[in-house]
């Protein structure tokens, strides 16, 4: 974890008096092997009280396995898990005080909505009158009053998702675990429920660990994003930092679309440096801060440029960092136009223009320009 993001996080969520409070979840050197396959390879992270943290990554990166180990549904190969300071590594799931929202929602088909939501409290031996009160409150929270007598099979996908959330929050878990909890919904409903869920989480101040492969969902909902790749944490930072300053080519490629130009550092100053791409183009004025630990001369690196950071011109503009190319194709995307520009040295450049500023057709010669401040330089990987 980067110090800066950790600090700002504590400012925002720590209870009064506390830079030194115990995190709600702490994971140390966590490993999971399935036979000879390493699913999770010694990862460390924490989730502070009230924080909403997403684990983001492609399928097979180990994110769901990590979540299941936290819940106690998967044995740990090595490492330790602490929930509110208590070592739960070898405790059965029912003794961890976690609550999970499954991708399939896992509602009990033989129970009605009320009994589903009441289940956790019933297992905890809460008195019936209190259960009924709290179920009513949870149903209000997820705006499903009046659906108590229905069976899960009589609900829509969005309603089932809400029941699953109600069932989880009612037990006031130390940590709410969400496993691709919105993935099975259609796009519009998903966006609506993202906001609802986030609102509920902030309102209740419930510590949450959310697993998703959807980068947009992670950016929208999280206080912090842990990007995982092949069982390792690729980056652990606030959403804006993950987006603007990805720690690796993998992160840059996974979060949002990027054009990638491989090259190496040919001149390094205090403020700015020059990177020569393999196609022979010199990118000057690249901010040294963006280059970070790859800033010495001769170092191989990858330059990532977001499609929106690029402009297209019919005449060569009087700027640095202009690449000449030919329009291969374009597509109307509603809010923007997307162009694919073929570069002379081979490879394509994806360019997204907010509106059709200039008309380019297939085969047109264009000049693509971008500001050196908008590029991201990462290690080749």
């Amino acid at each position: 974890m980067k110090d800066a993001s950790a600090e700002s996080m504590k400012d925002r969520v720590a209870p009064p008096g506390g830079g030194a409070t115990t995190p709600d979840l702490e994971v140390q050197g966590l490993c999971k092997h399935f036979g000879s396959v390493v699913a999770v390879d010694s990862i460390d992270f924490t989730v502070d009280s009230g924080e909403f943290v997403s684990i983001l990554g492609p399928s097979g990166c180990g994110k769901t396995t990590t979540l299941r180990m936290v819940a106690g549904l998967e044995e740990v190969t090595a490492g330790r898990i602490f929930i509110r300071g208590r070592d739960v590594t070898h405790l059965p799931p029912e003794k961890r005080n976690t609550a999970m929202v499954f991708q399939s929602y896992a509602l009990f088909p033989h129970m009605n909505v009320h009994d589903n939501v009441a289940f956790g409290l019933k297992m905890r031996g809460v008195a019936k009158a209190e259960i009924d009160d709290r179920v009513a409150m949870a149903m209000r929270r997820v705006r499903l009053e009046g659906y108590e007598k229905r069976k899960p099979s009589q609900l829509s996908g969005g309603q089932r998702q809400r029941v699953a959330v109600a069932r989880a929050i009612i037990v006031e878990p130390a940590i709410l675990l969400l496993d691709e909890a919105l993935t099975n919904l259609d796009r519009r409903l998903r966006q609506q429920l993202q906001l609802e869920l986030k609102e509920l989480q902030v309102e209740l101040g419930i510590t949450s660990l959310f697993v998703t492969h959807d980068q947009e969902e992670a950016l929208t909902m999280s206080d912090r994003i842990i990007v995982m790749d092949e069982g390792l944490i690729a980056q652990n930072a606030e959403p804006s930092e993950v987006y603007d300053r990805p720690a690796s080519a993998f992160v840059a490629g996974f979060i949002g679309e990027s054009n990638r130009l491989d090259g190496s550092v040919v001149a390094a100053g205090d403020e700015a440096c020059t990177i020569r791409t393999d196609a022979g183009l010199d990118l000057v004025g690249v901010h040294a801060g963006h280059v970070g630990h790859v800033a010495h001369v001769g170092r191989q690196c990858a330059v990532m440029v977001r499609p929106r950071a690029i402009t297209l011109h019919a005449e060569r503009p009087a700027k640095d960092n202009v690449i000449e190319g030919v329009v291969k194709l374009w597509a109307y995307k509603g809010e923007s136009y997307e162009y694919v520009v073929t570069l002379p040295g081979g490879g394509d450049l994806l360019v997204s223009l907010p509106r059709r500023e200039a008309v380019f057709e297939r085969g047109d010669r264009v000049f693509a320009a971008f500001d050196a401040r908008d590029v991201i330089v990462v290690e080749r990987g």
Partner: protein, 301 residues
Amino acid sequence: MVEAATTETSGGVSRASWARLDRVWLAVPAVVLTAVFFVIPILFMGRISLSVHESGSAYREGTWTLDSYVTLLTDSFYLRIFSYTLGVSLLVTVLGLALAYPIAYWINRSGPRLKVILLFAVIVPLWTNILVLIYGWLIILSPGGALNDGLMRLGLIDAPLRVVYNTFGIVVGIVQITLPYAILIIAAVLAGIDRSLVESARDMGASRLKAFLHVTLPLSTPGIASAATVIFVWSMGEYASPQLLGGSAGKFVSQEVSSQFLTAFNWPRGAGLAVTLFSLIVLILVVAQTAARVTARRSAA
């Protein structure tokens, strides 16, 4: 099979109706077989049971009487046979389920390799003739058999245990015969239960036992009901096990049917016994199913 037929021929109204026709035609052989070999003989049986018995011949054709039913429903000899058959069948059903469920549960929880081995072990007895199975039990259970011999050599018992030629022997036989079916039925239902439901229950604070009682068990009741039906119906009509493993403790209805037809040569009474047994089974199944439906509706409300 029905699904496949629909998909293959889908693509148009006429094709859909063809598919529906196909389905009807596909059922024809089964309907014909059932009618010729089951429905018609049962109707014959019903007719014979209503005929007058005549010593020296099976029955007098063209006569009508309720004599055989009056005898069956009033004579304590027959009532005892029915109650013994019913009692043993209920016992067999309970024991069969108690044995089949844990095995099915184990199979379902096993890894893929062990699962194949266990399923194979369950299916093997189905390839073996029932009489061979029963004679196998005779070898094991008889007074001088393997079980008693072993126990006596170990010094655990002084005299042979009476474990065959009595109710115990019959129970062992029928449980053995019906167990593979019960296991396969329950295992299939257990396999259909989404694993995440149990995980979710555990995560919600249920111990392994509570998750089983609140989630797995209620969701597997259809399997338990089907397995119970198979065991019970089989047991009610069982002939070989009571004939070979039973003793003086009681007689099964099927044994009495056989002796009425073949020994006493009283066809109306034998047929009456068969029809009464058949009706009794249907009645019990209907009552059980209705009770189950009412309970389910009450718990849902």
